[in-house]
Amino acid sequence: MDFPALGLTLRLACVTTLLLLLVATPLAFWIASGRGVGRRVVQAIVALPLVLPPTVLGFYVLMGLGPATAVGRVVVWCLGHSLAFTFWGLVVGSVMYSLPFAVQPLVAGFSGVDRELLETAKVLGASPWVVFQKVMVPLSKMAFVTAAVLTFAHTVGEFGVVLMVGGDIPGVTRTLSISIFDQVQEANYAGANRMALWLVVLSFCALLAVYAKGFRRGADLG
């Protein structure tokens, strides 16, 4: 068992999930709170990682972080080195790759909150921030759980983006899925299987947690 890879994978998934919830919450709120072409365009862009090959996304992140672009040059200037082939480079790639898995459940959750409740809160004097905090978030708690679990599980399982952006540096960018790939390359099928099984069980438990919770809530309301 490649424990450094497991530790790295869990660390990457935790950081990505936290950052992504911070980014996705205002984005989803904005998308859900109105109509218009701008919102639909952003929604389509957010969904792109669902259909793009991870290598395409990884390629552009790699290029974007490198000295070939303005963003990359700023990063290099600030940090003294490129983010490519580092842990934080992986985080940037993961955040982009898992963006739809955080944004979409939140958009669905926010849109599902009764508009009349939001209007009433507003008339009773609640500022937009208070409406969000006291009405929107508590009434879409399930969406936050779903977004967090899906993001976490999806990040644990990513391969293409990690390989493109991070390479395969043990202890730095070699995540579990890449370690499995390496084992298979070395024809160590038993070792690959042990790790692969872990991933299957972990992912299954995460999804089960989401569905079990959704079911309980459904029964509650019924």
Binding site: E119, T120, V123, L124, G125, A126, S127, K134, L139
Partner: protein, 251 residues
């Protein structure tokens, strides 16, 4: 209770709010210009005559309609239509009770009081207002219950109580305030409501399609039909025809 029953004082003199609404809501052409001078004004009319739309226009919830809405502030007129909904200082009980399902009865009633950071003294007095409103609408026994356990009439009382505790409110908007509330309780709570409002010098605009209720309130009545005002005046005058019919039925 905060005070006993007393004669309701008419503290609101002169016009306190002005409203002009023009535009289309659904299939209805709204064209209304109104001045509100009475402490309690009832907007009366059949379903679909645009009553609730007028209240929603005052709240700033009809974005596609031309609305002019002003409040007398000392000797000046304050433009409310240009203000954000949350800054208009309205107590509001919508037609569907729209209670917050994640809050219990007391938390629902207190909703408007907990959202602003305030001093300890203000916090204590806000708590007293909440308890007073729970008392007035007979909700103390239900205060810790979840809203989904309430009957329709109980939910409506929570809706009303919640509107009554908005700090600093300058106008109360009640949409079918007594729908689902039995008449006995309505008749009992009405004098208390009026006294509470007179205490705060807080005018009311309510909506109803119930003649009995409009007459009972003894308020100024605005009669609405097909999106336009067809009459405005004292309840006994505007609703004279309905009143006679009712008296005939009662023998």
């Amino acid at each position: 209770m905060r005070r006993g029953f007393g004669e309701v004082r008419t503290l609101v003199e002169g016009v306190h709010h002005r409203l002009a609404v023009k535009g289309v809501v659904g299939t209805l052409q709204l064209d209304v210009a109104l001045e509100f001078a009475a402490p309690w004004t009832v907007i009366f009319g059949p379903s679909g005559s645009g009553k609730s739309s007028l209240l929603r226009a005052m709240c700033g919830l009809l974005p596609d309609v031309e609305v002019e809405f002003e409040r007398r502030d000392g000797n000046a007129w304050m433009r409310l239509d240009a203000m954000q909904t949350s800054r208009r200082k309205l107590g509001y009980a919508p037609q569907q009770a729209a209670l917050f399902p994640h809050l219990n009865v007391r938390e629902n009633v207190a909703f408007a009081t907990v959202q602003r950071p305030r001093g300890r003294a203000a916090w204590i007095s806000a708590e007293q207002v909440v308890e007073g409103a729970l008392d007035m609408f007979g909700l103390q026994m239900l205060a810790d219950h979840a809203t989904r356990e309430l009957s329709g009439g109980e939910g409506q009382r929570v809706n009303l109580a919640r509107a009554f505790v908005v700090p600093g409110a300058r106008l109360m908007l009640l949409d079918e305030p007594f729908s689902g509330v039995d008449r006995k309780r309505r008749d009992a709570v009405l004098p208390e409501m009026k006294a509470w409002l007179a205490d705060l010098d807080l005018p009311v605009i309510s909506v109803t399609h119930d003649v009995d209720e409009a007459l009972l309130l003894g308020a100024e009545v605005v009669r609405l039909d097909g999106g336009s005002v067809v009459a405005q005046g004292a309840a006994a005058v505007v609703l004279a025809e309905e009143r006679e019919r009712m008296l005939r039925v009662l023998g």
